[in-house]
């Protein structure tokens, strides 16, 4: 069964803290994505990748780094977290000519 698994599901950190969000897909998809979702903005693309070692910049990349270590694993890094990064984060994966399949999300609070 196709799956995208995110961890942790909830995270609380303080301003200036270091956070890593993890995503693993078992779908053999080439493409993986990180989005953030905020009320009134829908889903906004942070970074995406089309394979291990590849990284493409999305529409709201400031303050975020990402790394695709394998075809299955995509990480989102917040090295100096700020309250403006409090949000609901979604990871997704897609194959060729396929719409993305989403994970269940990670809720991040930066105090």
């Amino acid at each position: 069964e196709a799956a995208v698994t995110q961890s942790p599901r909830n995270k609380v950190t303080v301003t200036g803290g270091n956070v890593t969000l993890s995503c693993r897909q078992t779908n053999s998809h080439n493409y993986m994505y990180w989005y953030r979702q905020d009320t009134g903005h829908g889903l906004r693309l942070i970074h995406y990748s089309y394979g291990a070692g590849n990284l493409q910049i999305g529409d709201v990349p400031d303050g975020y780094k990402a790394t695709r270590t394998t075809q299955e694993d995509f990480f989102l890094l917040l090295e100096l977290a700020s309250p403006s990064q409090t949000s609901l984060y979604f990871c997704a994966s897609s194959g060729t000519n396929q719409a993305p399949l989403f994970g269940e999300g990670t809720r991040l609070s930066v105090l």
Binding site: V4, Y31, Y33, Y35, G40, H41, G42, L43, R44, L45, Y48, Y50, Q56, G58, D59, F90, A92, S94, N97, A99, P100, L101, F102, G103, E104, G105
Partner: protein, 112 residues
């Protein structure tokens, strides 16, 4: 730059009515148009999609109407049910670059 616009922002209909959700876009290279359905606490799930070579796609109570010339599409939900209450996103893209851009969504509420 707002590439994808959805309207209305929220919509309330009675059970059994037809809900109409609208989406417009600017990028003429978009050639694939999925709609996602999202329930609270869950990730978005693909509901129905259409390619730019078609003007209509039907799947049960859900129908997409697509107007390529005007860069507009709409999602019609007939015989709306309370279980359809969710947020719906239009997410057009170009199969050449796989950069998915989502609209801000339409929050649908169906009253029994």
């Amino acid at each position: 730059q707002q590439q994808v616009r959805q309207s209305p922002q929220s919509l309330t209909v009675w059970e059994g009515e037809t809900a109409i959700l609208n989406c417009s876009y600017e990028d003429s290279t978009f050639n694939y148009f999925p709609w996602y359905q999202q329930f609270p606490g869950e990730g978005p799930a693909l509901l129905i999609s259409i390619s730019s070579v078609s003007d209509k796609k039907e799947d049960g109570r859900f129908t997409i109407f697509f107007n390529k010339r005007e860069k507009k599409l709409s999602l019609h939900i007939t015989d709306s049910q309370p279980g359809d209450s969710a947020t719906y996103f239009c997410a057009p893209f170009n199969t050449g670059n796989y950069k998915y851009v989502f609209g801000a969504g339409t929050r649908l509420k169906v009253i029994a």
